[in-house]
């Protein structure tokens, strides 16, 4: 990025072309079945990224998009819709896409917690599970409308999370880690031995139904037949957009500035009159709320919840997505989740070895690129302004 470039408004064409290529690439990757093709595509993708970043096109496209953020948002939504539309009949791929979106939603919550406020949470999967179990219990035993159930999942996660507030607020560093780790282990054991919540078998979650529209039916519009997952995907996409906008706005606002100050130096933040407790509580509860919502949606989509889905290992996967993406960067979350969820699912050949390879990959990442795939950029408030 040389200084001459600074004055000219970045052109959008490379970004548009890049988006189109990315959409085609993702569709291809999701479409191909044979292992050689999958590996070939992954290699091509990696080479393409290396080549474009070497030639500077990647940086330029990224720059253009940060200047026109609303266009970037529209492009991503458009891309998601194109991909959903392409796979409209393919249950498996659509389920994979819902998983990606729900993980993004949950990691947005985690990102609020330790990406911005620096509050550690190693119990992400537990709060996800609280959302799912709330959906199961409310859906089966009460006539509460489904939209409210989704909200209730988030509220429950925040409420149960608030039990942890006192220890989380009082402890720091490694001592804080143990609080959430203990909670994650406790939560799973609790679910397994609790008969009311179904024990190790878990519970059924009734499918979503909104305004008389049953989500578990396939959609038929004339000759066009859509998988029932499309229902869920649309709702999840809307929720995700809302959550994304919320987190993005928070980050840009004075709230985000406060959270950053608090993470970087608590003592200095206090000296400037910030109420540390207040902002830590806000970040922790709001983060858990988002995770709980993701959990409730996930329970409804999959149709059942069981303790084995909410283990400490799952919490670790959520944490590593945040680190892999580049801590604090919301776009990094999207990229990292896509990598973490889709690649092991497509590479059936390494199915058996996927956790091993995954763990090794995260280790290498942390050793050689500790800032993550997409490091968090400096905020920019005015169009055309760039940090020197």
């Amino acid at each position: 990025m040389n200084s001459g470039e600074k004055q000219t408004p970045a052109t959008l064409w490379p970004a548009l072309a890049g988006t189109a290529l990315t959409i085609v690439y993702v569709i291809l990757l999701l479409k191909v079945e044979s292992q050689t093709e999958v590996i070939g595509l992954l290699v091509v993708g990696a080479l393409a990224i290396l080549a474009t970043s070497w030639s500077g096109h990647l940086a330029r496209a990224g720059q253009a998009l940060t200047h026109h953020e609303s266009i970037l948002h529209l492009l991503v939504i458009f891309g998601a819709l194109v991909i959903i539309g392409f796979f409209r009949e393919d249950h498996f791929t659509l389920l994979l896409l819902t998983t990606v979106m729900l993980y993004v939603l949950a990691t947005l919550g985690l990102n609020l917690q330790f990406g911005y406020a620096g509050v550690l949470n190693f119990a992400g999967a537990s709060f996800f599970g609280i959302g799912g179990y709330t959906a199961a219990v409310l859906g089966a035993h009460t006539p509460v409308p489904d939209l409210l159930i989704i909200l209730a999942g988030g509220v429950m996660a925040a409420l149960i999370g608030s039990i942890l507030l006192l220890p989380v607020l009082r402890t720091r560093g490694h001592y804080a880690a143990v609080v959430t780790i203990a909670f994650a282990l406790l939560f799973k054991v609790f679910l397994e031995v609790n008969d009311i919540l179904g024990g190790p078998q878990g519970l059924q979650v009734p499918g979503m139904e909104m305004f008389g529209w049953k989500f578990n039916n396939n959609i038929e519009i004339g000759a066009l037949e859509l998988s029932f997952y499309v229902n869920y995907l649309i709702v999840i996409l809307l929720v995700l957009i809302a959550a994304f906008a919320l987190v993005r706005r928070l980050e840009r606002s004075w709230v985000g500035l406060n959270l950053d100050a608090l993470r970087l130096d608590e003592t200095a933040a206090t000296c400037f009159g910030l109420n540390i407790v207040r902002w830590k509580v806000t970040a922790f509860l709001l983060g858990n709320f988002l995770i709980g919502i993701a959990g409730a949606l996930s329970g409804m989509v999959i149709g059942f919840v069981a303790p084995t889905s909410f283990t400490f290992a799952d919490s670790l996967i959520l944490v590593s997505i945040v680190l892999l993406g580049g801590i604090g960067n919301v776009w990094g979350l999207v990229l990292a989740t896509a990598i973490v969820v889709i690649i092991p699912e497509k590479l059936q050949a390494i199915q058996e070895y996927r956790f091993l390879l995954y763990a090794a990959m995260v280790m290498l990442m942390l050793l050689f690129r500790p800032e993550g795939l997409l490091p968090r950029p400096v905020r920019h408030y005015f169009p055309g302004w760039r940090p020197k």
């Binding site: 009082r170 402890t171 143990v178 203990a182 282990l185 609790f190 944490v319 956790f355 763990a359 280790m363």
Partner: protein, 306 residues
């Protein structure tokens, strides 16, 4: 409640406490010298137990069947191998990232734990299934009413006490221990006094990992079964114990280990209608203790430089 039952519970609690304390001491040693949490510790323990089992099978195949020789060789091979593994991990992974943010260190060692765990599952023959662990110690037992005192448990308990006392003496009475404590207290001053920092760190990691291997063997001998996933929970319990006791303090770690086992036992005895909730109870109390004493029962001395 019958006194025999209580004695039985006490014995079980002591055995568990010993295992937890051994793991917790490892955590606290590592934290002492490098200020890092090595979360792969639990899985190092698993590898130790599996190394012991493999050695045993090797000895059987080689036709050495005298139990005393078997247990001796199994213990030595396992501890030496795992101590070496610990030193290698310290050299290649922990030392290079010691100045990284704590979250990164925590995550990288957690991932290392996953690698070890998965490696055992995938590469040990039939590693995905629980493996029977041989009873290498004499299993004679003395029965007093409801209390069944097994000789192997007594031997393990005594051996555990000996190992902990030995570690304690090593740290407090030898020159090596002095060096370890010096590094823990102040790395730079220790260096200027001629302490070979890297060497001491490697030795400390070898020592802590050797303790983990010993705990792994104890765990195997106690339950007569080991599986690839046992390290995750044991590691988390050991970590919680070390934290609750107060990081960097060996007495704190021992206290924490026995405290956790005590909580589990109390949970099992006092909640007869819900003994399945004993772990929930134990972890719940741990969280409560953290709220009450945010830096552990024996508090770590922290002075913040601004």
């Amino acid at each position: 409640m019958d006194i025999g039952f209580l004695a039985q519970y006490l014995m079980n609690g002591l055995m568990l406490g010993m295992i937890y304390a051994l793991v917790a001491v490892g955590f606290t040693l590592f934290f002492g010298v490098l200020d890092v949490i090595k979360f792969s510790h639990g899985d190092v323990l698993t590898v130790g137990a599996f190394a012991g089992l493999a050695t045993f099978l090797g000895l059987e195949a080689a036709g050495i069947s005298h139990p005393a020789i078997q247990i001796l060789i199994v213990v030595i091979v396992s501890i030496v191998l795992i101590a070496a593994l610990g030193a290698v991990i310290a050299r290649t992974i922990v030392l290079p990232i010691r100045s990284a943010p704590p979250l990164n260190t925590l995550l990288i060692t957690l991932m290392l734990g996953t690698v070890l765990r998965e490696a055992v599952r995938l590469f040990y023959p039939q590693g995905a299934n629980p493996q029977p662990f041989p009873a290498l110690l004499p299993t004679n037992s003395l029965t007093l009413g409801n209390f069944n005192l097994r000789l192997d448990n007594v031997i393990m308990l005594v051996a555990g006490v000996a190992v902990i006392v030995g570690t304690q003496l090593l740290l407090n009475r030898t020159k090596l221990g002095l060096a370890i404590r010096a590094v823990a207290q102040d790395e730079e001053t220790a260096r200027t006094m001629g302490v070979n920092f890297t060497l001491i760190v490697l030795i400390t990691f070898a020592l802590g990992s050797g303790l983990a291997a010993f705990a792994g063997l104890m765990n195997g001998l106690y339950y007569n079964e080991i599986n690839f996933g046992m390290g995750l929970l044991l590691g988390a319990i050991g970590f919680s114990s070390a934290i609750v006791g107060g990081l960097g303090n060996i007495y704190g770690a021992i206290l924490g280990g026995f405290l956790f086992a005590g909580l589990q036992t109390i949970g099992a005895v006092a909640l007869p209608f819900a003994s399945a909730y004993k772990d929930v109870f134990a972890f719940g109390v741990i969280i409560a203790i953290m709220a009450w004493r945010p830096t552990g029962l024996i508090q770590e001395k922290i002075s913040e430089r601004v």
